[in-house]
């Protein structure tokens, strides 16, 4: 047992926890392994073959979403009595990574956890709008009460899956003077009078999912459509973000892993200078760096998920996971194209799609810059005098 240098009380709590959970991070429990294998099989057989076409045609994989719903992947951590799979966040992370390895577009919102800790039962697939850019507290969409209705006005930009969702959660300012404590969350079914969609953005990557503005003009919804108490919106958004970061980290891991798979396979097959290029040290160094980047990001992601499952604070770890995984995705996909050379630049091989898909992971669900601020904030708090 090596000497653990305790810097502060938070550290020792986490370290004790890590020692207990180390075996879980080193190897997944059996159910998680079966889940991982099931998702991997599905991704290999049903998603990888169509991913290129979905990207070219910008088409939404409706059937596959329904399949995954039937398998229970869309509601992994929802309790069984509410119709979910009743598994934990680590399972969610593992499933996301495997699905993403097949096709990166599957940006799921699997469930909504409202601030009182109650699950929201929702039959439809819906999209979550946090949409304020990096300045999360400055929600310019306004909501005011008129009789027994809420009236919402404003525009939300960059909303994923907007054209394919059946409902949406909107964060709007209910009390401007309270600043971020005056933001509330609302559930709006789609379509709905007063809610319209902007044009579909023509994106660099993850093209199978639609991204568009959602425009609210005198959008009226019943009072009961407010989620959680008034003013709890920011807190709900932040909580969702923390968990969402683990999901995006898993997605980025899937893309990174797919890039490594593609590059390593090519290194075995492509011959130059008389042997497979995998024999060249230049290529080997790249593959090694890619593998290390992925494995470290994966362990960070599993750790964040495990902390969340044990209801321990996980904000710092979630931000670290998202940062590490998204940077691993862009790094690995970049190197994969380099290893494939000319073949990496054409659509015949998936490397170029991974490169384009990876790029967004450093931007959405909190830019890499925001993640660094979150991490720094946590680190400074630990060292507070």
């Amino acid at each position: 047992m090596f000497k653990i240098f305790k810097r502060n009380k938070y550290d020792s709590v986490v370290l004790h926890f890590i020692m207990a959970k180390l075996s879980q991070l080193a190897e997944l429990p059996e159910t998680h392994q079966i889940l991982r294998q099931t998702c991997r099989d599905y991704a290999d057989r049903e998603l990888s073959p169509i991913a290129g076409r979905l990207d070219k045609e910008h088409s939404y994989p409706g059937k596959q979403i329904l399949d995954l719903g039937a398998m229970g992947v869309m509601a992994i951590e929802v309790p069984e009595d509410l119709g979910g799979a009743g598994m934990d966040y680590l399972a969610y992370s593992v499933a996301m990574e495997e699905i993403s390895r097949g096709c990166a577009t599957f940006v799921f919102i699997l469930s909504l956890y409202v601030s009182e800790g109650k699950w929201l039962k929702c039959d439809s697939f819906f999209t979550l709008i946090v949409g304020n850019g990096s300045d999360a507290g400055a929600a310019s969409t306004l909501a005011h009460q008129e009789g027994d209705e809420w009236v919402l006005n404003g525009t939300k930009a960059w909303i994923t899956n907007s054209w394919d969702a059946s409902a949406t959660v909107v964060f709007a300012t209910t009390d401007k003077k309270l600043k971020h404590k005056g933001i509330s969350a609302f559930l709006i079914p789609m379509p709905h009078p007063g809610l319209s969609l902007g044009k579909k953005e023509d994106k660099l990557g993850i093209r199978a999912s639609s991204t568009a503005n959602i425009i609210l003009e005198d959008c009226r919804i019943p009072l009961s459509n407010m989620l959680g108490p008034r003013g709890a919106g920011f807190k709900i958004a932040m909580q969702t973000l923390d968990s969402g970061r683990i999901g995006i980290a898993s997605q980025a891991l899937g893309i990174a892993q797919a890039s490594l798979d593609c590059a390593a396979d090519y290194a075995h097959k492509r011959c130059a200078f008389g042997s497979p290029i995998g024999k060249l040290q230049g290529i080997q160094f790249k593959l090694a760096d890619m593998a290390v980047a992925i494995e470290s990001a994966r362990l960070l992601t599993w750790k964040a998920a495990s902390l969340r499952d044990s209801q321990k604070p996980f904000t710092k770890e979630a931000a670290m996971a998202k940062l590490a995984a998204s940077e691993a995705a862009t790094f690995c996909s970049h190197q994969a194209i380099q290893i494939l050379g000319g073949m990496g630049y054409v659509t015949d091989m998936p490397a170029e799609r991974h490169y384009r898909d990876a790029r967004i992971t450093e931007i959405y669900e909190g830019t890499s810059e925001i993640q660094r601020l979150v991490i720094a904030g946590q680190v400074l708090k630990e060292y507070q005098q």
Partner: protein
Amino acid sequence: MTGRVLVGVKRVIDYAVKIRVKPDQSGVVTDGVKHSMNPFCEIAVEEAVKMKEKKLIKEVVAVSCGPQQAQETIRTALAMGADRGIHVEVTGKDYENLGPLQVAKIFAALAKKEEAQLVILGKQAIDDDCNQTGQMTAALLDWPQGTFASEVTMEGDKLKVVREIDGGLETIKINIPAVLTADLRLNTPRYATLPNIMKAKKKKIANMKPADLSVDIVSRLEVLKVEEPPQREAGMKVETVEDLVAKLKEGGTI
């Protein structure tokens, strides 16, 4: 029918893995190599679970013979919908020498013990390609067999089985109890749903040894050598049909 079905599931090297022969030519490398359920066994499990869903049978019991790791394969069958599992423990040299005849003896004994109405197996395993276990099991039990099944329908107290044979398709009607072996086109195995993966954790897997079933697993066969197929040699290009014919005659092919 309110009976019980035994489904055999074998743990084999995953179909996507590149097989390597051991340097001493005694077998193939299995250590650290990815294993999974034999694809034909998956089809067998799917058929059994479908029969249960149609209420044609009451209980699906997944059976596997092998070392500790065989339990993973049984667990996958449970996640697909089997009700319980039986792990017949065979380890070490016994496991290396385990072949269709011994497995058939085990299944015959279990079918009697469990009072099964049906035994469904994959038509063959992708590691040894024997295609014998189903047939031998039926013979030991003196039950009818529907092998290479691509379609199975219950008709009263009989089974109508469409079999894939060299000449095409053959339809037979057999009595129950019977042994069936699943061919490729019988069905498309389902993906285990997450709720079922969780439920599978709670399902029981009983442990036993061949001796508990009074089965003697001594092999009557001895593997002498395992070697790789010959390396495919490079071909050669010729310019004209006459050259081609000449080369073929030269090589003694024609």
